[in-house]
C-alpha cells in the first residue's frame, strides 16, 4: 500500500480505478461501434466467392492452394504424429474425415479428421471491386446530382437564412417576435402534413422528376438554421453595428461586413449540418425523382441494392464511397461537432 501511494502520489486510488474502468468500457464500446464499419470496408474488398463460403471473416482472404498434376488443392496445417505440417487436402472421406498428402508426394495420403485441421488462407484484396461497382451503375450521374442538390441548396440556405436571421436579431418591430415564435413552431411540424400538396404543386410546375423541388425551397430559409444563426448573431456586440452606422453603412452592408465575418463559426456549422442532411436525405429524392438520370446517390444506391442485392461486394463498395465525404468533413470539422456552437441552444 505504501508503494502504491508513492507511485501514484497525488491521485487517489479509487479515482485511478474509476478512470481505468471508464477507459476500458469506452474502448470496448468503441470496438463494438467500429466493427460494422470494418465489415463494410472489408466486404467491399472481398472476392464474391468468399461471401458465399467464408463470409464471417473480417479479413478478405482466400484458401491457399497448391497445384498437383494440373489440379488445384486446398492447403491445410495438419498435425500428424504430434508434428505440425502443411499438407494438401486431396479428398474428403466419409465420417468427417479427409485424405491429406504432402504436395510433393501426393500418393502417400494420411486420413485425418477434417474439422481438427486448420485451412490455410492468404490475403486476397480485390481493389477491382471499386471500378467494377462504378461501372455497374451510373455512379457519377448520381454523384453529380447529389452535389448539385447539396451545394446549390447549401448556398441558398446560407443566403436566405442569414438574411432572415439578421432580420430577427437586429431590428425592433411589432410583429417580429410573434413571427419568430411561428418560425420556431415550424421546427416541430412533421413534413408529411405539407408533402402531398407540395408534390402536386411541383407537378403542376413541371418540376417533378427534376432536382428543383430539392433545391428551390432552400432559398426561402429554413427554420432550424435561422434559429441557430440568430442565436449566434445575438452574441455579436451591437457596438460594432453602431460604429458602422456612424460611418454611414446601411443595414445590408452591416450584415455583409460586420455580422457575417464575425459569425463564421456559426455559418460553418449550419453548412456542415446542411451538407449531412442533403447528402444522406432519401425521403424527398425518392418522392420527387423518378428516373435514373435524376437520382441522387441515396436513391440510386437503394435501387441498385433492390435489383442486384446478391452483389454485396459491389454494394458495399458504393456504400464506402458514399460515406467517405461525410467522414472526411467530420474529421476536418471535429471541434464543431464535439463541442459545437450548434448544440448550445438546447442548454437549460
Amino acid at each position: 500500500m505504501n508503494l502504491f501511494r508513492r507511485l501514484f502520489g497525488g491521485i487517489k486510488a479509487n479515482e485511478l480505478f474509476f478512470k481505468g474502468i471508464t477507459t476500458l468500457i469506452l474502448a470496448a464500446g468503441s470496438v463494438i461501434i467500429m466493427i460494422p464499419l470494418a465489415f463494410m470496408i472489408s466486404t467491399s474488398l472481398k472476392d464474391p466467392a468468399q461471401l458465399r463460403s467464408d463470409a464471417n471473416t473480417l479479413i478478405p482472404r482466400k484458401p491457399q492452394t497448391v497445384q498437383i498434376n494440373g489440379e488445384s488443392f486446398n492447403l491445410y496445417s495438419v498435425t500428424v504424429d504430434g508434428e505440425t505440417r502443411t499438407m494438401a487436402m486431396i479428398k474428403k472421406a466419409p465420417g468427417g474425415m479427409a485424405l491429406f498428402a504432402d504436395s510433393t508426394t501426393p500418393d502417400q495420403t494420411v486420413e485425418l479428421k477434417l474439422n481438427e485441421q486448420t485451412p490455410l488462407y492468404r490475403l486476397d484484396i480485390h481493389w477491382e471491386n471499386y471500378p467494377e461497382a462504378l461501372g455497374s451503375m451510373p455512379f457519377f450521374t448520381y454523384l453529380g446530382n447529389t452535389m448539385l442538390v447539396t451545394f446549390i441548396g447549401m448556398f441558398g440556405m446560407l443566403f436566405s437564412s442569414s438574411l432572415v436571421a439578421y432580420g430577427f436579431s437586429r431590428f425592433r418591430a411589432r410583429w417580429l417576435n410573434v413571427l419568430f415564435l411561428i418560425l420556431l413552431a415550424t421546427v416541430m411540424l412533421p413534413s408529411q402534413v405539407r408533402l402531398i400538396p407540395l408534390y402536386i404543386f411541383f407537378q403542376k410546375l413541371g418540376w417533378v422528376n427534376t432536382l428543383l423541388p430539392l433545391i428551390v425551397p432552400q432559398f426561402f430559409a429554413n427554420a432550424y438554421d435561422v434559429f441557430l444563426l440568430r442565436q449566434f448573431f445575438m452574441t455579436i456586440p451591437l457596438e460594432l453595428d453602431d460604429a458602422a452606422k456612424i460611418d454611414g453603412a446601411n443595414p445590408l452592408q452591416i450584415l455583409l461586413y460586420i455580422i457575417l465575418p464575425q459569425a463564421r463559426p456559426a455559418l460553418v456549422s449550419v453548412s456542415i449540418f446542411h451538407f449531412l442532411y442533403a447528402w444522406n436525405d432519401f425521403y424527398e429524392p425518392l418522392i420527387f425523382l423518378h428516373t435514373k438520370e435524376n437520382w441522387t446517390l441515396a436513391v440510386g444506391l437503394q435501387t441498385f441494392d433492390a435489383l442486384y442485392t446478391i452483389n454485396t461486394h459491389l454494394i458495399m463498395a458504393i456504400s464506402v464511397l458514399m460515406i467517405i465525404p461525410p467522414i472526411l468533413l467530420f474529421f476536418f470539422a471535429q471541434k464543431i461537432f464535439t463541442q459545437g456552437v450548434v448544440f448550445s441552444g438546447v442548454k437549460g
Partner: protein, 322 residues
C-alpha cells in the same frame, strides 16, 4: 411638423426588419402554410392526382375510425374500417416504446462516461459520434447484411461466441423485425449522446463544489446536481425522438424495399402514409393520415410539455411555479 416623404427612424428600422425576413415569409406561405391548408382540404376529398379532387366529407376519417366499438367487443381487427392503419400505428408505438427508452438510457450513460477526464477522450467521442453522421441508405444496407440470418455475421457470433442456439431471424422474422430496427438505431446513439454531453458541460462547476462542501458523495452529486440540471436536455431529446419515430422512414424503406414486411411487421405509420400517397395515389386518404399524424405529434408534444413542469428543472426558475 409632418414632412411628406420622410419616415421616422423607428419606422424605418421596422420596415428594414420586415424586409430581411421576406424570404422566410414567402417560404412559409408557399411551402408551409399553403400546403398545410391544402392537405387539410384534400383530407376531405377523394383525390388520385389525375382527376380533380371530389369532396367526400368525413369519409376518409370514417374509414380510419369506423368499427372501433365493434373491435372492442369482438377483438377482431377485421371489423375495423382500415385495420392496416391501426397496425401501422401499433408498429410505430411498439418501436418507440423500445427505441426511445433504450436510446435515452444508452446515450445518457455514454455522455456521462465521455464527460470524464480519461485518456483519449476526444478519440472516444469521435468514434461514438461517427455512426450518426453517416446514417442513411449505405449504413442500412450494411446492417441488412450483418443481420442476415444465413449470410450475416451477427448470428454466427451469437451462436459460436455467446452460445445462443436459435438466434433470431431478425428482419426476416415478424417477431424480431422491429427489435432488429431498434438494434440498428442504437448504433447511432452518438447523435443524442452529443446533445447530453453539451448539456453536461454546461453545468456550472460551482454547483458540484458546493455539493462537495456539503459532504455529498458521488452518487448524491449525480442525483441532486447532474440529473436535475440535465432534465431539460432529456426533455428535448424525448420530444425530438418521439416526433422522429412518427417520421421514421429511410431505414425501414431500405430494409424492406418499401413493403413494411414480413407480414406488415415493420409497416411504420410514415411508410403506410407513403404507400397510400405514392403507390396507390390515394392522396385524400394519405392527407388524412398526415393530419392525424400532425395531431398526434401535437398532442404528444403538448403532453410532454405539460408533464415537464413536474420533472424538468430549469435553472433560475422556482420549483412548482411555472
Amino acid at each position: 411638423m409632418f414632412k411628406p416623404g420622410k419616415i421616422s427612424l423607428a419606422r424605418r428600422e421596422e420596415l428594414a426588419g420586415y424586409a430581411f425576413i421576406i424570404p422566410w415569409v414567402i417560404g412559409f406561405l408557399v411551402f408551409t402554410i399553403g400546403p398545410m391548408l391544402s392537405s387539410l382540404y384534400f383530407s376531405f376529398t377523394d383525390y388520385n392526382i389525375v382527376d380533380p379532387p371530389t369532396w367526400v366529407g368525413l369519409k376518409n376519417y370514417a374509414r380510419i375510425f369506423a368499427g372501433i366499438p365493434e373491435y372492442f367487443q369482438t377483438g377482431n381487427p377485421a371489423v375495423l374500417g382500415d385495420p392496416i392503419f391501426w397496425k401501422s400505428l401499433q408498429v410505430t408505438i411498439y418501436f418507440a416504446s423500445l427505441a426511445l427508452p433504450l436510446n435515452l438510457l444508452f446515450s445518457f450513460i455514454l455522455a456521462i462516461f465521455l464527460n470524464q477526464k480519461v485518456p483519449g477522450v476526444n478519440v472516444w467521442r469521435t468514434i461514438f459520434f461517427l455512426p450518426s453522421i453517416i446514417a442513411g441508405v449505405a449504413v442500412t444496407l450494411l446492417w441488412l447484411r450483418i443481420l442476415n440470418p444465413r449470410m450475416g455475421v451477427l448470428n454466427p457470433f451469437l451462436q459460436n461466441v455467446l452460445g445462443i442456439d436459435n438466434p433470431p431471424g431478425w428482419l426476416q422474422d415478424p417477431n424480431w423485425a422491429v427489435p432488429a430496427l431498434v438494434l440498428m438505431s442504437l448504433w447511432g446513439v452518438g447523435g443524442s449522446m452529443i446533445v447530453y454531453l453539451a448539456g453536461l458541460q454546461g453545468i456550472p462547476t460551482d454547483l458540484y463544489d458546493a455539493a462537495k462542501v456539503d459532504g455529498a458523495n458521488a452518487w448524491q452529486r449525480f442525483w441532486n446536481v447532474t440529473f436535475p440540471m440535465m432534465t431539460p436536455v432529456l426533455f428535448y431529446n424525448l420530444v425530438l425522438g418521439m416526433i422522429g419515430t412518427f417520421q421514421y422512414f429511410t431505414e425501414v424503406y431500405v430494409a424492406t424495399s418499401g413493403t413494411g414486411g414480413p407480414q406488415r411487421s415493420t409497416l411504420f405509420y410514415n411508410l403506410y402514409l407513403y404507400q397510400n400517397a405514392f403507390r396507390y395515389f390515394d392522396m385524400g386518404y394519405a392527407s388524412t393520415m398526415a393530419w392525424i399524424l400532425f395531431i398526434i405529434v401535437l398532442v404528444l408534444t403538448a403532453l410532454i410539455f405539460r408533464s415537464s413542469d413536474a420533472w424538468v428543472y430549469y435553472e433560475g426558475q422556482l420549483r412548482g411555479k411555472s
